[in-house]
């Protein structure tokens, strides 16, 4: 049984920030939703409340960074780049400011619908020069991403998981290095964020059918561990990417770019939102509906191998971790 960690970010941020007086915690009226309410209450001198005013918050953070502070901005992923995109470019990214954008509830992990679901954030952020993009996939990465982000000379965008988060990994977040979760000869599966946990649910049924899966977990999306990907992709019968994001411009796209540039000629299936907006509903419901789940992954693998793998949903259930996750919908926003 996989360990579930309660609010790993809350504890990790407090430990991290209190040891570094130049770190400031900025918030835009979603303080408890971003698990920094305890930090605010215990360390008010390191906390700046800027209200529902993201444009000002981003530019203000650029000014703080100029003076040697390292602001960590806390709000939902969507609010960090949609409304305040111009500020992100001109007040932060162009000048390569050390501003850390901590984005909560990425993709369809929120029941908030279109207004709250950051489904194209990676695509947008990838196009910004000087930007680094990190994405957490488990409790260990949430606990260890802060030091990684803080070491980067320039702006960093992080997709953060909150609430009950499974612990999948025993080693800390390593910058720009793919994690190898399994090694097999038939297909390469590349996943990120919450989709990695989902892909792990398919591991046993695939193994039982003698499908050799090389599974890579991605936690640094920009820059990207190009060599690690090429090495794993060579000689495979097919590649599947699975991401909590639109397939346009995110993990699937960047893998496609590298495969094409290297001339590997391996077939690729990109799973994720198929160029569509989603809507407000629970995470398991949306992952099933939009083909971000274990079943979508094994179907894609079957197609690449020309085999009917015939895996019943019940087989995935045995590995399912989210009995507690289903309660997460109640926490809403």
């Amino acid at each position: 049984m996989v360990e579930l960690v309660n609010r790993p970010y809350a504890k990790a941020f407090e430990t991290f920030a209190t040891a570094r007086p130049e770190v400031l915690c900025l918030s835009a009226d979603l303080t408890s939703s971003c698990e920094v309410d305890g930090f605010r209450d215990r360390h008010p001198d390191q906390f700046l409340s800027l209200g529902m005013a993201e444009q000002n918050m981003l530019s203000f953070a650029g000014g703080l960074a100029m003076q040697g502070f390292r602001p960590f901005l806390h709000t939902f992923s969507v609010f960090l780049y949609r409304r305040a995109y111009d500020q992100l470019i001109n007040s932060i990214a162009y000048s390569n400011r050390k501003v850390r954008l901590m984005g909560f509830l990425p993709g369809i992990t929120t029941p908030g619908g279109i207004t709250h679901q950051a489904i194209e954030d990676i695509s947008v952020m990838r196009a910004i020069p000087n930007m680094t993009i990190l994405e957490t996939g488990d409790a260990t990465e949430v606990e260890t991403v802060l030091e990684v982000a803080d070491a980067i000379d320039g702006p960093v965008y992080v997709r953060v998981l909150r609430g009950e988060v499974p612990r999948l990994f025993s080693t800390p977040f390593e910058f720009n290095k793919l994690r190898t979760l399994s090694e097999g000869d038939d297909v390469l599966v590349v996943t990120s964020g919450v989709c990695t946990e989902e892909a792990l649910r398919a591991a046993e049924p695939l193994k039982a059918r003698n499908v050799g899966v090389h599974h890579l977990h991605v936690s640094t999306l920009k820059p990207f561990d190009r060599d690690g990907l090429i090495k794993a992709a060579r000689g495979k019968k097919g590649i599947v990417t699975l991401e909590n994001h639109t397939i346009v411009g995110g993990l699937g796209s960047l893998v496609a770019e590298i495969l094409a540039e290297e001339g590997l000629g391996v077939r690729l299936k990109r799973l994720g939102l198929q160029d569509t907006f989603a809507h407000g509903a629970s995470k398991p419901y949306l992952m099933k509906k939009y083909g971000l789940d274990a079943s979508a992954l094994t179907n894609a693998i079957g197609q690449l191998l020309g085999r009917d793998l015939d895996i019943a949903d019940a087989e995935f259930e045995t590995a399912r971790l989210d009995a507690v996750h289903s309660a997460q919908k109640a926490e809403a926003l």
């Binding site: 530019s59 203000f60 000014g63 703080l64 500020q87």
Partner: protein, 308 residues
Amino acid sequence: MSIPNCQTTEDVAAGIRRRVFLHSMRNNGGYLSQACSAAESLALLYNEVLKLGEPTLPKVPLPFAGVPSAHNPDAFTGAGYHGPFAPEYDRFIISPAHYALVIYSALIQMGRMDEHALDHFNRDGGSVEMIGAEHSPGMEVTTGSLAQGLSMGSGIAWARKRKGEPGKVWVYMSDGEFQEGQTWETLAAMSYHNIDNIRVIVDVNRQQCDGAMSSVLDLGDLPARVAAFGATTCSINGHDLEAMRDAANSAEPGKPLVILANTSPFQGMPYLQKRFPRLHYVRFKSKAEREEMQTAIAADLGVDLAEI
């Protein structure tokens, strides 16, 4: 400040207008009306108010050294013409980046840049860009996408206050920026966080790209609106140096200071009134038009036509 300076602020203002006029005539157009409205504010700031150290960049502007990145140690900003970053010195953030020609002229008039620095204006590969970039002389941050300068200045001011630095943060703005929502977000934040080491001077010339602000999106009683957000607000004649000196000294503890300098976009160049309301960027449609303007404004400013 160790730069020898025997000019009166009136002389500096006249010098700014003269330099912007000469450059615009020699280059078939320019941001003339901004020199008219801003000359006294900028002259007062550079000549009397700002506490700046000696420039750290060469008097002759450097070529562009590439965009900032973790891999470009050569990138620089135009802050060097405002002197070194040190706790006792002020910072000066210029938000309307299209005032660049006026700023460059002020820096030259103050001896902070070379007499011929405008020869580099708008030249490919140079740093003296037409719309000031953060590597352009006098520009400390990336502005020009309007309303961001005030937010960045507020962040700088908050940080300097937290560190106990005595230096202030001055921000120069145009009144059109009060059409942007971000400006009001920032005013609210400055008041809430009691950022009182920031001083804002706004060129209230009531002009914008499309023409008179009253014909685009009028801001009504701007002083009342700004004051309602909690700033110490002074609405004064932006060409009256004595009134501006008083305003610059009127900051109150716990509150940001906003000076609304009401100005004329043809102050010192009355001929420009003929161009109203298209004053944002003055260019010439014919040789005759250019010569008429040249003769008239040269007479207004007491400039010898042979200088052009």
